[in-house]
């Protein structure tokens, strides 16, 4: 297995991805998310027509009936090609009926193909508040859970990675001009719960590897953990992306936006585990005296143990699956293997307590 020394470039990852995140969030504030009626209150009407009509025709018809600033979108799917979504902050019941009858006389409205959604402004405000509250509670709950199962110094990096995921999701969502609905909020919360999966997988391995690796720097240990878990993280992501793609292609208009948000969140959630959460945890952990000592001993880069073999070979293109299947480059003797025997030794005698193999640090020197 090829171990790529990602952690050598941890600051590079952290800075560039924070820049991306900040940019995405600023972008969201500048462009303004298109909040749907779920949050601001208003009327959303979907209607299917027998005869073809253009968005402009429908919009001018609706405006002509005195509806202020209607947003008209053409929706493909739900009830054939000629479906339209008309959204307005205010559209009285009378106006709704007029719109329907006018559309009917010009384009013939399909039977039973109309749906109207009306949300009061105060109710929308409540939904908004609750959405913020729910996100806040979810963040706190995840911090709490990760602190309980791992430690606080893992929980915060995981959340920072989530901020990156959600920030990017919202940014791309805003850029693609999609309407934010309560389904989008559900997607954001799901991203919070799911994107942390890949982070947990790496952290779980780091938690385990700390027991075997008593000499290596924390960064090298993290690199090994990433190398060990990256393929499976990508695979779990693929497994979730497959149904999401199915929804994106075959689902109706409402589900598509939802799946779109989730897709971004799930993809960003995978790489942010390696390039945001892990580096941040490493930076923080290496400030601890015992790990600091190792960094000093290793000459700031951890050259002694894992790194050298990797640095020496073509670490650049080694990410992903290919690196695992084949032995690219020639591993240098002495490095790289130092860790592995102990890892495998541990796994063979799996039932012993985790303390024991760790105490056998001498094994390493004997090889």
């Amino acid at each position: 297995m090829r171990v790529i020394p990602f952690m050598r470039y941890k600051w590079w990852f952290l800075l560039s991805l924070s820049a991306v995140t900040v940019f995405a969030i600023v972008f969201v504030f500048l462009v303004r998310l298109d909040l749907g009626i779920d949050f601001r209150g208003g009327v959303r009407m979907q209607i299917g027509l027998e005869q073809p009509a253009t968005v402009d025709e429908v919009r001018s018809l609706v405006t002509g009936l005195g509806v202020q600033d209607p947003v008209v979108q053409s929706v493909v799917g739900a009830s054939g090609a000629n479906s339209f979504m008309i959204t307005a902050e205010e559209m009285t019941a009378d106006q709704q009926q007029q719109v329907e009858s006018e559309l009917n006389s010009r384009f013939t409205v399909k039977a039973d193909s109309k749906s109207v959604e009306e949300v009061g402004a105060s109710f929308g405000k409540e939904t908004t508040n609750r959405a913020f509250l729910a996100v806040a509670i979810a963040v706190i709950a995840i911090i709490g859970y990760l602190t309980f199962r791992f430690e606080f110094k893992f929980a915060i990096p995981a959340i920072v990675a989530l901020i990156h995921d959600v920030g990017l999701t919202l940014g791309i969502y805003a850029a693609s001009n999609r309407l934010v609905t309560s389904a989008t909020i559900a997607a954001i919360l799901t991203i919070l719960g799911y994107s942390v999966h890949d982070t947990i997988i790496v952290f779980d391995r780091m938690r385990e590897n700390t027991h075997f690796m008593k000499k290596e720097t924390y960064g090298d240990m993290a690199d090994l953990s990433i190398a060990q878990t990256m393929v499976r993280s990508i695979n779990t992501t693929v497994c979730l992306l497959l149904p999401l793609v199915a929804i994106l292609v075959f689902g109706g208009p409402t589900l598509k936006d939802f799946a779109f948000a989730l897709t971004i969140g799930v993809v960003t959630g995978t790489y942010s585990s390696f390039f945001v959460a892990t580096p941040l945890a490493v930076v923080w952990k290496e400030r601890e005296p015992r790990y600091r000592k190792r960094v000093v001993a290793a000459g700031s880069g951890g050259e002694i143990v894992l790194g050298s073999s990797v640095l020496g070979s073509d670490g650049e293109n080694a990410a992903g699956k290919g690196a695992f299947g084949k032995t690219a480059g020639t591993p240098k003797p002495g490095a790289g293997q130092a860790v592995q025997p102990r890892v495998s030794r541990k796994t063979t005698k799996g039932k012993t307590s985790s303390k024991r193999p760790a105490a056998k640090g001498a094994k390493r020197t004997s090889r």
Binding site: F123, A141, H197, G251, S344
Partner: protein
């Protein structure tokens, strides 16, 4: 031996559960569909601030009565938060009409007919008598003013009369507790009504006065039941009625009686409800949304299974089997407890398909690690499951936690999403971990299950070199 027995036991249990689940799950057509999937009306009504829970509960009962009159198959009426009522009427033909009936805040009043004064031939005349030209202007006048319409139906020829009433009603619908239809001794339909304590006192007072007048003059006095300015009925008062229970008898048809009871119930709506969110969905629209979602789900399931089988071969096949077991169990649970499926609910279910195999991916990857380090398939299987479980558990817990939070925060269809997501992930831990493991352990004696290449653990082959030669993990 006992391990095999245990795993066989688990599988027998799963088979039984599967049978039960399949019984509840199929045919799928019996699933309760939310109105976003079969068309209908969803509305959230809000009561004014400071409304007591008691009044909200009464309002719910009243709305239930009204909805029952509409003949909706599976109405769902429940309180939401402290001051909201959510009404879901799937599959109704005319959502607009239904909304009018439900949301109508009727004003029910009891007037003594002797207070009505002069009859007018039209509403305009009655308004003119008060020197105004519209109802709005009438409402603006000081003191009680109301125009009451009475369509007296006397022997086929109906005559309409309007009255300008200036005396405030002594009794209002708010003092009425409930009303029902029943039958008197002669088996004629009648309407029973019950008053609240204050209402009972007032009612006794009024009926006492009217009965006294009748005794003195020999002339029946009428007490008009007025709903929204419309005289619905004006029964004669023969005697004082105390105790708060009254009955209205007369030449009713059963339908008349039912209508009158409904009017009385309507009037008893204790608070004014305003619609804060409503959603009507046409039947065709709902149907196509359902088909699209099911299509997406089926294709998603298929894609996942193909991926798993291609990547993990026999192990992937077992995972796919576990995924199908998961799907049937899940449908069984949903249909068994009668969950109403909404579009977001189906989306949640589709997502959990992907999350369910996540556990398998993690476990199989661990198994590869173990085989790579030189273990036999059997040893790698148990070690793989044991070591992967912690990560699987932690991953699923974060999703379950967010699902619970979402369930709390969301309203309407999104609640359905949170429900399927949370329940699905919890259930998937059972199928993806326990069921897969039992199957693998039981089959581990079978030859194909000792072949690394078939199993999908073949990556390990080149890795099974001594570690210090290959230098790979």
């Amino acid at each position: 031996m006992s391990r095999i027995q245990r795993d066989a036991g688990i599988l027998v249990l799963v088979a039984i559960l599967l049978g039960i689940a399949a019984y509840f799950a199929f045919p799928l057509s019996k699933t309760n569909l939310g109105l976003d999937l079969q068309g209908g009306l969803a509305v959230i009504l809000q009561a004014p601030e400071g409304t007591s829970t008691n009044d909200i509960d009464r309002a719910v009962t009243i709305i239930q009565n009204r909805v029952n009159k509409l003949g909706v198959a599976e109405p769902e009426i429940q309180t939401q938060g402290q001051d909201k009522i959510s009404v879901q009427l799937p599959g109704i033909d005319n959502p607009e009409e239904a909304l009018k009936i439900i949301g109508k805040t009727a004003v029910l009043e009891f007037h003594e007919v002797s207070d009505f004064g002069t009859p007018y031939k039209s509403e305009a005349e009655a308004l003119a008598a008060a020197n105004v030209d519209s109802e709005a202007a009438l409402d603006a006048l000081e003191g009680y003013h109301a125009v009451v319409h009475w369509g007296v139906d006397s022997g086929g020829a109906s005559s309409d009369q309007w009255f300008l009433v200036t005396k405030a009603p002594e009794l209002t619908g708010a003092m009425l507790k409930d009303a029902q239809t029943g039958f008197d001794q002669n088996n004629n339909p009648k309407v029973d009504m019950q008053f609240e304590s204050e209402g009972a006192t007032l009612f006794a007072e009024i009926t006492g006065r009217l009965a006294d007048t009748y005794k003195i003059t020999g002339q029946y006095e009428l007490l008009a039941i007025v709903l929204d300015g419309e005289v619905e009925s004006a029964p004669r008062v023969l005697e004082q009625i105390s105790g708060g229970n009254a009955e209205i008898t007369g030449k009713f048809s059963l339908d008349d009686a039912k209508n009158l009871a409904l009017v009385l119930q309507t009037g008893a709506l204790p608070v004014e409800l305003t619609s804060v969110s409503q959603n009507t969905v046409g039947a065709v629209l709902g149907k196509s949304a359902l088909n699209q979602a099911l299509m997406a789900g089926a294709i998603g399931l298929l894609l996942i299974m193909v991926f798993m089988v291609v990547y993990y071969r026999l192990l992937g096949l077992i995972a796919s089997l576990a995924l199908i077991i998961y799907t049937v169990l899940f449908l069984g649970i949903l249909n068994g407890i009668g969950v109403t499926m909404t579009l977001p609910g189906i989306a949640g279910m589709i997502l959990t398909l992907g999350m369910a195999v996540d556990a398998n991916v993690l476990i199989f990857a661990r198994m590869r690690d173990e085989v790579r380090s030189g273990k036999t398939v059997g040893a790698a299987t148990s070690a793989g499951f044991r070591k992967a479980f912690r990560a699987v558990f932690d991953c699923n817990m974060t999703t379950i936690i967010t699902a619970i939070i979402l369930f709390w925060a969301a309203s309407g269809g999104i609640k359905g999403f949170a429900l399927t997501l949370g329940v699905g992930v919890a259930l998937s831990m059972f199928t993806a971990v326990l069921v897969t493991r039992s199957i693998l352990i039981l089959l581990s004696g079978w030859r194909p299950f000792r072949n690394l290449r078939l199993l999908g653990l073949h990556v390990t082959r080149e890795k099974s070199l001594p570690v210090n030669e290959g230098g790979r993990l």
